[in-house]
């Protein structure tokens, strides 16, 4: 029984030693990580519309019941077509907003008549983000023409999961992380158009958008 305290002392000494070693390791790791951080910014998930093939996974794979991915219309690339391949079902019967003619499964695209010019009617197509489920049907349809519809992770909804469930399932690996202060992307032709547009002083909204867009 006499050697018990000695044994305990020894054990405590070893434990102290290991604790100090652990602390030093953790400190070193922390220092290393903080040191590496440098100018680092926070990042958020975004998809690259140039790679997107509108496969529908965005609608079904997001951890949110209603996906964080929504369709965006880039008006400056839109042809304002009467026969919109993103709006109308390929087997449409008439060019009107009736249910049997629409392609969008939730009816999230609004079609507004703008003007008739030289016998051609022009319509504006606006996405109602609240109703959009990000299925990309219109994106696929529009890609046949101008491709002004494209999908984006909407950052008012995205939870910024550590591992994005859509990214895991994306067939073209179009998802990656962008700096949080420029969390959106445009298709490359759209970006060029936007850059031209901001030069005009009246387009504050274009400048707002450009400030949100990641420019590679």
């Amino acid at each position: 029984m006499n050697d018990q305290p000695v044994k305990n002392d020894r054990r405590e000494f070893i434990q102290d030693g290991l604790r100090v070693a652990g602390l030093v390791t953790l400190g070193a790791a922390g220092g290393f990580l903080v040191g590496r951080q440098g100018e680092a910014e926070e990042t958020v998930w975004q998809l690259d519309p140039n790679k997107c093939i509108a496969c529908k996974n965005c609608a079904t794979h997001c951890v949110l019941d209603e996906s964080a991915v929504k369709c965006v219309q880039f008006f400056d690339m839109c042809g304002y077509c009467d026969i919109c391949t993103g709006y109308f079902d390929p087997n449409y019967r008439e060019l009107n907003t009736a249910a049997e003619n629409q392609m969008c499964p939730t009816g999230a695209i609004r079609r507004t008549f703008i003007e008739e010019k030289a016998g051609q009617k022009f319509f504006e197509y606006t996405i109602d983000a609240d109703a959009c489920v990000g299925c990309g049907k219109c994106v696929k349809g529009c890609a046949l023409m101008n491709g002004s519809f494209y999908l984006q992770v909407s950052h008012d909804r995205c939870l910024n999961c550590n591992e994005c469930a859509i990214a895991v399932s994306c067939p073209t690996q179009a998802f990656d992380r962008l700096p949080a202060n420029r969390p959106y992307r445009l298709k490359s032709p759209a970006l060029a158009l936007l850059k031209r547009k901001v030069k005009h002083p009246s387009h504050q909204d274009a400048r707002d958008l450009l400030s949100q867009v990641y420019d590679p």
């Binding site: 609608a59 019941d65 209603e66 087997n91 019967r93 009736a98 249910a99 049997e100 629409q102 392609m103 969008c104 499964p105 939730t106 009816g107 489920v133 299925c135």
Partner: protein, 585 residues
Amino acid sequence: MRFTPSYRSIVWTAIVTGVFSVMVGSCLVFALDAPWRKLPLEELRFLTLKAELESDAGNERLQQELRDLDVDIRSRYFRQQQFIKRGAYLLTGGVIATLMLVRWSNNVKWQAPDPKRLVTPQGWETRQNQLGKIAAVILVLALTAVVLVYHFSSRQPALSRMIEIPATEQPDTGVDNLQPALAPVLVPTQAEIFANWPRFRGPLGSGFAAFDDIPQTWSSTTGEGILWKSPVDLPGVSSPVVWQKRIFLTGASALKREVYCFDTDSGDLIWTRSVAVRDGTPAETDVEETTGFAAPTPATDGQRVYAIFASGDLVAFDFDGNELWSRAFGPLDNPYGHASSLATYRDRVIVQLDQGNGDDHKSRLLALQGATGKPVWEVQREVPASWATPVVIEFEDPPRIITAANPWVIANAADDGRELWRAECLSGDVGPSPIYVDGVVYLANDGACVAAIKDGGRGDVTKSHVLWKAEYGLPDICSPLVTEELLLLVPSSGGLASYDRQTGSEEPLWEQDLDVMLMASPSLVGNHVYLIGENGRSWVVKPHETGFDQVSENDLAEPCLSCPAFQPGRIYIRGKQHLYCIGNR
């Protein structure tokens, strides 16, 4: 005074909240899986109505019904979204309440344990620890086993079982810089093999060309579709083989044997090499006139080209025309002249050397090292002379070589030559080669039968693996061809015959005549079959269940007995005197 409800009342409340939570939970699970959770316009009812409306255009009532349904399902969709959200809150609340109540009931009824009942038996800890050790080991092994079983039972075979990426040291050049890393390829990858036409009847020997833009019309009289034609000095019925920018061809007379290398773009002859016979072998071999001295098609592995002649001389050249080695197997005891073409497996050349009468132990199958010509393995075959070409299936496990002869169809392991299975179904002089499609070997020979044999099994599989057999429309020279549904044969009497390739039947589904005899085996491009008659006339036809439709008829101004070779956008055909390149300009 503090209010303490009775134990019973707490438990009952807990039960009520618990039942409530379960109900809400099951509602939610049902809601999560319910059909009406589909996107509004993808609901089945809507889609059927839409289809109905399409077929019955102008039906106002149907149109109105569809619109009403649309409004209905849309509003329900958004109601359901709300429902689920509220349900989730409700469930959380219910579960929390239940838990709280259960804990509370526990506390109310809490009693300190009676230590008398807690007895730890002697040696308990030691025993538990021993058990724990065993359990730990079992656990780890079981986990590994589960992973492996899951891995190997997955539907998709692992990459390493399908392709071989050269084992040469690859400097870490990154993805952008692939070309230099690939330069010292020793073994062709399956991808490369499939991108080329390295042997008789293409990559798998099945006459199937998976390339785009293959021309369908040409004419050597008008010159339409002919990109170039180059004369070939010596005659031969061997077919061209193609690797990237090079076409290899053989030709031979009774006294001379030559290997040619042409440029795919210009048709220029890059090199010609003549092959000498070894001292002591008779310079002349007896052959039947149509077979000739250069019937076997050469083969290439992307590094070297191998050629064999009726004299029994096997030779290997590198792509620059340097002779690497040669071996003389002759003279061969073959009544018509040796015609089995060569095949390759990885860096080896496979030779089917069937001769004699079957009892004289002359027939064999060999694998020779491509670089040196040294034999890797050799198996004896108790079969008489045959004229069929082996097929090599690299992506099966183990990789295998399938040969046809009288009477055995035999599968040998490509690595060591050991026999995997054999089936007895042929007889007579076996000319048509076997083909392998989707795990089934198809063969046919005049006077015997046409048979589909499921690859696999051990030993004699005649009884167990022959899927079907039939006895009409049998070919004597041309090998079979398989389309998506059909098995096509070129009967010895001419024309084209067809069977359902899955089920077979007693008689062909149809037989249709062509006014010319075919010597070249048919080829398949997409769903079009390319047939070349012995007088050079050729057809592109589209077979179906009841016959074939002719897509085009083309002519070549000279006889043709060889199979065409394909490359994206091009066909190479060897006529009696010329090599033609057909393509879209």
